[in-house]
Subunit: 146 residues, 2 copies
Amino acid sequence: MQALLLTGEAHNRLHEVCQRVDLTPAAVKALLVLSGGPRPMRDLVSTFRCDPSYMTSIVDVLERRGVALREPHPTDRRAKTVTVTDEGQEVVRRVQEIMSVPPSSFGVLTDAEQRILLELLTRLTDAEPGIPAVMRPRPSAASPTG
Amino acid sequence: MQALLLTGEAHNRLHEVCQRVDLTPAAVKALLVLSGGPRPMRDLVSTFRCDPSYMTSIVDVLERRGVALREPHPTDRRAKTVTVTDEGQEVVRRVQEIMSVPPSSFGVLTDAEQRILLELLTRLTDAEPGIPAVMRPRPSAASPTG
DNA sequence: TATTGTTATACTCTATAACTATA
DNA sequence: TATAGTTATAGAGTATAACAATA
């Protein structure tokens, strides 16, 4: 199961990931959402419920880092779509690999208990509107660290 | 059960709490830890793994707001202990009351499932070092909002 | 010499206001 | 007139460096 509880070990792990891939936490989250397919900035703004100016600065980071690209929107000339580059997809894979290893504390639960926890959390997050699909819990083959 | 998953609704709730009690999120967290009894600044610094200068500014907020007090440490004259005032204890009660109502998404789980989730999360957080007692999950009489 | 805490400062994160271009 | 996005700027949040007092 994914490192869902951003507390203790998993919280530190997110910062570790950001250093490893040389991106800020906000940029990593935006990149994960974008890995599902190109989107106009305004979609990102509504997904993250942030100010448009802040999203501009986040996408600036993604472009400077070479992991995403602004492109003209096909039908609306005011808008720009943001697309993940090949290097960006590689970064996404690295992030998901690191974050999919559960914190070592998961070792105190049996496999059956981990499956139950996963199911309950999945239903819980499904019932919360506005959580992007890539950030919802889902199964993983990995075993706990530590 | 407490609003443990700081995602979606519960995340917004924390910000709502901060506005209601006129404190920053960091100050609320420090106040919760201090409600367990007076502590020297250095303890808070190690609990929150932050810089001492930042803890100085957080305790400044608590003192200006009248919810905590710096007092001389009984044996170490370099140190200061931080104590919650009566008004501070009242604020703690209000914070705990608001945060103990589970997000409405918990309504998708049966009571039995909520108890299982609580047990699993309790064991998980018990296995994570460095999480202050007041921030661990625990039972609550309240029903989900919404 | 090491530790507790503060001050001054700087850097990161995020929002507001004013603006351009397009719908 | 309203919407998509940018720029410039300001405000929170958090850290680093230098320091005073005490251990």
